[in-house]
Each structure stands twice: as C-alpha cells, then as structure tokens.
Symmetry: C2
Subunit: 323 residues, 2 copies
Amino acid sequence: MTPSSTELILMARVARQYYRDDRSKSDIADELGISRFRVARLLDAAKRAGVVTIRIESAGGVNTELSVELQRVFGLAHAIVVDVDDDEPETLRRRLGEVAAEVLQEVVGPEDVLGLAWARSLRGIGPAIRNLAPCPVVQLTGALSGPDGSDVLELVRRVAQASGGTPHVFYAPLVAPDAASARTLRRQPEVARAAELTSRVTVAAVGIGAWQPGLSTIYDKVGRDAGERARDLGVVGEISGALIGADGSPVQSPLSRRIIGVTGEQLAVIDTVISLAYGRDKAGAVGAALRGGLVNGLITHAGLARALLDAEPSLPGAHALAD
Amino acid sequence: MTPSSTELILMARVARQYYRDDRSKSDIADELGISRFRVARLLDAAKRAGVVTIRIESAGGVNTELSVELQRVFGLAHAIVVDVDDDEPETLRRRLGEVAAEVLQEVVGPEDVLGLAWARSLRGIGPAIRNLAPCPVVQLTGALSGPDGSDVLELVRRVAQASGGTPHVFYAPLVAPDAASARTLRRQPEVARAAELTSRVTVAAVGIGAWQPGLSTIYDKVGRDAGERARDLGVVGEISGALIGADGSPVQSPLSRRIIGVTGEQLAVIDTVISLAYGRDKAGAVGAALRGGLVNGLITHAGLARALLDAEPSLPGAHALAD
DNA sequence: GGCTCAGGCGCTCAAATGAGCGGACAGTGG
DNA sequence: CCACTGTCCGCTCATTTGAGCGCCTGAGCC
C-alpha cells in the first residue's frame, strides 16, 4: 500500500526524467534497465502517493477555474473572471475593459457588425482596444454621460478608429422624460438608422445593472418612483437598458417606452452578446441575465463570479459531472 | 508571446481535462471541436505560461531530490535522505533506522550474508526491522555499549530473529587497551569464527564517524592522545572502526591494531555496504567515505546531505548534465 | 508439503501521441 | 501593389503509450 523509501526515490527519479526533462517512458526504462511498463506504473504510483502533483493555476490575472466553472454552469460561450481586488472600482473597470478588448479582438471578424451599449463597466474598453478587424461599429443605446463625461459616443468612435470601420452614432439620451418624447427621438433619422443597423449587429458588448439604487445607472436616472413601478412588474435588472425579470427574459413596462436603446428582443437574436459586470450585489441580476440567455458571455471579477456560482443550485462544484 | 485571457482559459480547461480527468488529447479535441494538435500545443503553452505546474516533491518524509542527487554525485547504489529535524537526535536515529530496515528488507535475499557493525546510528534498525529474508547475520565489530546499554549483539540478535536466520555474535570490546590484548581477543574461537564469516558477508550496515571529539564513538573511546596520533597519520574518520583518510581509503595506524572489527580491506570486497550517518559536522568524513568507495549506500538526513553536496565541487546542481 | 490467491511483471495489439512538413494567412517593407 | 517573413494550423507517418491478458512468485493456509 504505502511505498517504501527506495520506491519513493525511484518514483521521483522517474518522474523528474519524464515530466521535467520530457523524456519518453521507454527511454527512461532503457536507462534504468527496467521495463517501460514498470516506468508507467511507477509514474501512476507517484501520482497516487503524492510525489507528483499537477497544479492548474490561475495565471496572468485570470482566474481560470472560476472562468471555466461559469462557462460550464451557465453554458456561456465566453466567460472570463479576472482576479482583481473588489474594492478598487477604477482598477477593476480598467482590467475588465482590457479583457473585453481582447475578447472583441478575437471574436470580431470583418464580416461582423459590432454593437456597443452604454454602461460604466464598458468604459475601460476604449483605452484598451488596439487592433480590431475592420467592421461597422454601432451605438446600441442612447447616451448617459457619466460624472467624468465619458460616454458611449466616445467609445464607439474610439473602437471604430481602432477597427478602421465606420462608427454609427446618434445623439439621443438613454432615458427620455416620457414615452412621447422617446417616440420623437426615435424618429430622428440617425437614431432610426442606428436602430435599423442594430438588427444587423452580430457581436455586442453590454453592461448589466441590478434594479436597485446605485447598482444601475438607469434605475438611478429614472427616479425611485418609476423604478419601483417597474420592480412591481417583475424587473430585477437591466442589460444596458433592456429590462429583464427574474428568469432573465425581457419585461415590458411603461418605462421601456422611455428608453432609447437596444431591446431584449433585439439582443436575443444577436449571435454574441458579451456582458460586463462587477460588484457582488449584482449577483441576482447577472444570474438572471445569464440564465435568460440574452447574453452568452460574461466578463467579471472573482467576487461576483463566486457569488453567482454560490447562488446557482445546479451541481455546486461537481467537477466529476462536468460534461 | 503572452497568451490572451481566452487562451489562458482554454489552456486551463484543456489542462484540467487532460491532467486531472486523465482524458486523452484526441478526446478533448473532439469535445471542444478543435484538432488534437491544437490541444497538444495548448498544453505545451500552458506549461510555458505557468498555468500548469508539475511539482515533484518529497513525500513520506523522504527528500527525493537530495536522494537522487547524492546517488548521482557519489555514484551510490542506495542513497536515501530523510526530511527530519536535525536537532532531535533520537527521532532522527529512529527514522534512519526505519529507512535502513526497509532498505535491508529489499536488498537482502536468502543467499546473502548480512553483517552489522556497531554505530549509534544503527540502533534504530533493531526496533524497526520486521521481515527479512532468512540469512546469517554476522556481528562485524566488537561491542561498545552506549550510555543506554544497547549494543551490537542485541542488534544482531534482533535482526536475526526477524530474519529467521542464525545470529553470529561474539563477546569482545570494539577497542582493546593495546595491540597485544586485541590479538588475544581475536584468537578467541567465536571472534575468529566471526572474522572468518566476515569475508563471506555480502550486505553490511555500518556507521560513519568523523575523527573529532564527539563525532566518533571510537575517537571518544581511545582518548585524545591516541586520537591525535592517528590524525597525524591522516585519519579523518572511521567506518564502524575502520579508519579512513581524506581520500576515503583505509589508513593503517597503531590504533588499528587495537580495534576488533571489520577492516577497510574487508569492507572493500563486500558487495553492498550501507552506511548511516547524521550531523552536518560529519560532512568531511562522510564525503571521504563515499568518495573512497568502501561504502556504496548512504542513509542520512537533509542537513548532512546538503552539506555533502555543497562541499562536492563536481557539477553543483547541474541537472541538465545528469546522465 | 501442497493449496490458493493476490500482486507484480512483461507481452500483444490497438490507440494515442510527437516530429516534421507544407499550406494559409497577416503583417511588413520595398 | 507585391514579394517576404513569421506564425498558426492540420496532415502523414513513425514512435510512444495504454488496456488487458496470462505468467510467475511468494505469502498465507490448510
């Protein structure tokens, strides 16, 4: 059962030659004057005895384990979890932006149409993007300037510049004061054109907000009353303006009519929708969005990823059942 | 050069399937819809990027790395280094004894003749030995009772009992007061018989002492004057009573004639001579013994092993040159 | 002594894998 | 615009490896 000291040493010797020096088992066997079968059995025993340990670690700031787990549990095409401290939002956004930029660079081809929505978490994409296949870049939502003045138009232009493709922007707010003015805005030619292009978008980047004060720029914008009315209709979060319910499917509400931007129905037919989100408080909303299937990619940080996985009842940590 | 986040994740995913779940590369490739070549390249990249780390560690209290290194550097047939704290001699002796017992159990066959010399470090063998091929067990040296009364006769009897073979003991001290009384003692029938059997010994266990106060039971026994005279003749240590010089070869001295026990010349023709030693201060003497070739096995602890390797000029840490 | 049974060993044959090659493709400088 | 260059990819073919089998040996038990 337990190997003797001389066996342990032989195991280690064989393991060093095999794993570190990349020699073949037959080769090692010849040198030691034993059969290649014995070498194989020694290596097996070495693993069992703990002489050889194979660790698969996170590297390059990416938590691979959580990433794969998210991919598996939510059936995502793209899931990337970065290992960054939760409590520095600026650093976190920058890092998420870098990763999102990477993903877009890999995913987007010249035949794609890229759509960018407004969200704080998308801000980091602009500075990080370098090369992108030339393709149209479409503004998916109205603008909602952040406190620092950066907005979706700037982002679309910056990305289009990196791509060499055409930016398609329009000037309209994300949230109109009422349904009527929203209708008027939507009739503006460039808004209509963008809306038309939206149906041709194949890759989109969006943010996810939770329907609570401070966790959604839209919730904060519409005011508490409108927010609460939407909640009564089942809204738990929004995907760059598209309101969703607990099961992640689009929810119609009077508020929807005030929002200028991509709708849940439009998102549903886009091939690749990469979402960005941070903050553990958003676990509920993000989980809903992922389950609902409107998004099929998530870029986030370890804190939120863990919260998501903890909340998901299906097969917690059941690696062996991974298919 | 540096892999992107998605690549890192793919690497980790593939690595997990390959290393942890023991799936074949082709299998993984089919599942992921990529070629088996790409899987292989991802695994290579994963190793290079540090996503996959293969550690080959000490296990079961045996420092495999130092063991193999000693084996290589000194050309030993058996080298076992235990990871035990230096400063608990009793624990250390017990552990060395256990390991020595293991080695003897593996090395000794029914056709062998086992010889046991006196040394403090051999004391642990007695309690540890369990099964041994039936073979004659020969006392190699005179007795030199330790402060706790345990001696070589007890050891020989205990080992013979475990073996089922015959113990061959004699009553004589390890060091006689003078050459004349040593001669007398050697003429005793049972001493002579043991000496005769010694020439038939095929496996021996011995201790190594350094020729300094407190580092050799013999040095301590003979007194400082005789000790210093021997040192003047080049003695740097002793292998269970057989005096050796700096190059590890036997040294003749007047003192030799007072010692009742196996000689260097006798050791030289024994197939397997396993030595036990502990204490970094003994590095010089043990190094000499190993280089001299009178012993071809060493069981020791990490502290002394490191001291030995540090002192050895040849190929320090030159793993790549290991043959 | 003779018995069985478990464990270690090396064999065969099929599957898995690696080395090296050439094609495709993107970036680069004339 | 086009040749050049380095990189990534998948192919072929030879080598390496694994699965499963039967043999042998030694221990325990009649």
